[in-house]
């Protein structure tokens, strides 16, 4: 049961992120919610890679243990973090430009393109 705790956290964070996108009207808060969503997925990836009692998969530091942790999820997580960083930066700069053009960051007001 306790082994599944990270996945519950992931689920809760993911739902929090989604709800944050729907419930808030402030664009900055929506960007934060998107980041939370990304973080929850990153936690999911990291949690997947964990093996109980595992050691790092490098031979001269491996020590006695024969269970090794696969490095792939870490690599995936790092890549995902970099991508999330880029998109968050882009989202924030877009929000800045939205503020400059529309004079508001209320998501309900930004609807010139519709229909």
């Amino acid at each position: 049961m306790i082994g599944n705790a990270p996945f519950f956290v992931v689920g809760v964070l993911f739902l929090m992120g989604l709800l944050g996108i729907f419930m808030t009207k402030n664009l900055i808060k929506i960007a934060i919610a998107v980041s939370i969503l990304g973080s929850s997925v990153n936690i999911f990836l990291v949690a997947l890679g964990y093996r109980t009692g595992g050691t790092i998969p490098v031979h001269f530091l491996a020590g006695e243990g024969s269970t090794m942790v696969m490095p792939t999820p870490q690599a995936m997580t790092l890549t995902a973090i970099v991508i999330a960083l880029a998109t968050t930066a882009l989202l924030l700069s877009l929000i800045m430009l939205v503020w400059r053009h529309y004079g508001t960051i209320d998501v309900d007001e930004i609807r010139r393109l519709r229909g």
Partner: protein
């Protein structure tokens, strides 16, 4: 290369259609060549008939704008378009909402069936 494309029920042959196109074009051009050419050029006889009025110089005054095209179609389907346009609110979170609802719908139903 010019062969037929079989669809399972029939076939499609582009060359037959192109042949037909040339025959139709020939007839069209022949009919057109039969028109009268004895009108007096430069007089009112080669002007546009605009109910006897003078034709406006600027096309701006006589074009039907695109928004008015298919007005009747849109009017007849007013309830349908009201619903459809009401769906396109243009609010960013609504767009995400439709997406998440669609995924949730799929997720629930694929586990049920």
């Amino acid at each position: 290369m010019w062969g037929k494309v079989y669809t399972g029920f029939g076939y499609w042959d582009a060359s037959a259609w192109i042949l037909f196109f040339f025959i139709a074009a020939f007839f069209t051009l022949w009919l057109r060549s039969q028109g009268r050419s004895d009108y007096k050029k430069g007089t009112d006889q080669d002007e546009i008939y605009w109910s006897g009025n003078e034709v406006p110089e600027d096309g701006e005054d006589i074009t039907v704008p695109a928004s008015s095209a298919y007005w009747g179609f849109r009017k007849a389907l007013e309830p349908f378009y009201k619903g459809l346009l009401g769906m396109h609110t243009g609010i960013a979170t609504d767009i995400v909402g439709y997406y998440v609802i669609a995924v949730a719908f799929l997720a629930v139903f694929i586990l049920l069936v």
